[in-house]
């Protein structure tokens, strides 16, 4: 913990008031300033997202996170938000291992720092690969949106995987929404599907099966920008971990660099807490 400097400071470098008003090192203050500016960027993004969602015109509905994100890797069926919750949990735990690394650093316990920092890197990599799964699932889609010839909207009960052909016998669509009770099945449904005006499967920058175009755009931008931060954080942690193993900080007499990398890593976790709430839950 860095509290007020307890050491007697030479008169030559004292501030006017007799003691430093901030009592933090230059590097730590600067990483805080950087984090504030980065927080402003994310605030801007989330506020823009709120603006787009709140100003939506009539007849359009913003997709519900519990319905869009309901798959779990390796399992079939729907598990609303379970995987995102797991990702959030992993990121929180990696934040905890980071704070434990900082704590070990304060005790000059090199072994402890190496152990906790290594676990933090593993947590970060797990989160990144989970995000890769989320993105690929989001882009591929699970219920293609079909605009039928009579103007109604239908959704495939199951989106065919890449290279799979549709079997008319088992083909089924729900009318109106993915949760609708109104289902059409079999070859007749397939005929409707073939005469459809348009089929939107998955998501890209111009259209998506979930809802307004801006929904997918905000998903890509906000989670992408956050993922970029996680990537940077993992690289930063690996660099610091290497330096810890080499004993650079032990020779320096303090592990403040771990603390500074930790601040960035906690910030990444903090941003995800907000992205999770505003993008997935609300």
């Amino acid at each position: 913990m860095s509290g007020e400097a307890s050491k007697t400071i030479s008169n030559a470098v004292l501030w006017g008031g007799g003691r430093s008003p901030l009592s933090v090192s230059y590097g730590k203050l600067m990483i805080w300033f950087f984090l504030v500016s980065d927080a402003l960027t994310f605030t801007g993004l989330l506020a823009a997202y709120g603006f787009a969602r709140h100003s939506l015109g009539p007849g359009m509905e913003w997709p519900v996170g519990e319905i869009v994100f309901s798959s779990f890797p390796g399992l079939s069926g729907t598990y609303p938000l379970m995987y995102v919750a797991l990702m959030t949990f992993i990121l929180i735990i990696s934040s905890v291992t980071m704070v434990l690394a900082v704590e070990a650093g304060h005790r000059m316990d090199k072994k402890g720092v190496v152990k906790w920092l290594f676990l933090t890197v593993i947590g970060g990599l797990f989160f990144l690969s989970s995000q890769a799964f989320e993105w690929s699932h989001f882009i591929h889609g699970s219920h293609a949106r079909v605009t039928l010839a009579d103007g109604r909207t239908a959704f495939l009960v199951e989106n065919p995987h890449h290279g799979e052909t549709i079997d008319p016998a088992t083909f089924a669509m729900t009318i109106g929404s993915t949760q609708s009770e109104e289902v059409v099945k079999g070859p007749e449904a397939y005929k409707l599907y073939q005469s459809a005006i348009s089929v939107v499967s998955g998501a890209n920058m111009t259209e998506n099966e979930y809802g307004p175009t801006s929904y997918a755009n905000f998903f890509f931008f906000i989670t992408g920008f956050h993922g970029f931060h996680v990537t940077t954080g993992v690289i930063l942690n690996i660099v610091v971990l290497t330096m810890v193993i080499k004993g650079v900080f032990h020779r320096r007499g303090h592990y403040e660099m771990v603390e500074k990398a930790g601040l960035y890593w906690h910030f990444v976790d903090l941003v995800w807490v907000f992205v999770f709430t505003f993008f997935y839950l609300v």
Binding site: S25, H54, S55, I92, V96, T277
Partner: protein, 122 residues
């Protein structure tokens, strides 16, 4: 010219084995709290609509309050901002919170207006 940025505050940042134990206990407490809050949020998101439909705006506010609690614990305990001098804390938080409140107010206000306009003309 004398420089005041060369004082190694970082050298004073250490703590003893005993203090470490207290700090680790606090970290464990915050970990459990954050996990519980996250689980509550997910359960609310999944089950609220089945139990009480047509009250989604209430659960939104519950989410926002729970998120604020989580954020406060992360910033104050994990990022150690609670242990810094008050000057540092204010310098970091005040400008940011002011800007946050401003931009959130302005954008939501304008979005509501645009929504009303679109209702008339679309």
């Amino acid at each position: 010219m004398e420089r005041d940025d060369i004082i190694e505050y970082s050298l004073d940042a250490g703590h003893s084995e005993e203090q470490g134990r207290v700090i680790r206990k606090k970290i464990l407490f915050v970990t459990i709290l954050l996990s519980v809050i996250t689980s509550v949020e997910v359960l609310l998101g999944v089950f609220w609509m089945d139990i009480m439909p047509n009250s989604w705006h209430w659960v939104k506010w519950v989410f926002i309050v729970l998120t604020m609690i989580k954020a406060a614990y992360i910033v104050m305990t994990f990022m150690h901002l609670g242990d810094e001098r008050r000057n540092v804390r204010s310098m970091i938080l005040m400008p940011y919170v002011l800007f946050l409140m401003y931009i959130a107010f302005v954008l939501i206000w304008e979005a509501t207006y645009i929504h009303e306009i679109l209702k008339v003309f679309l």
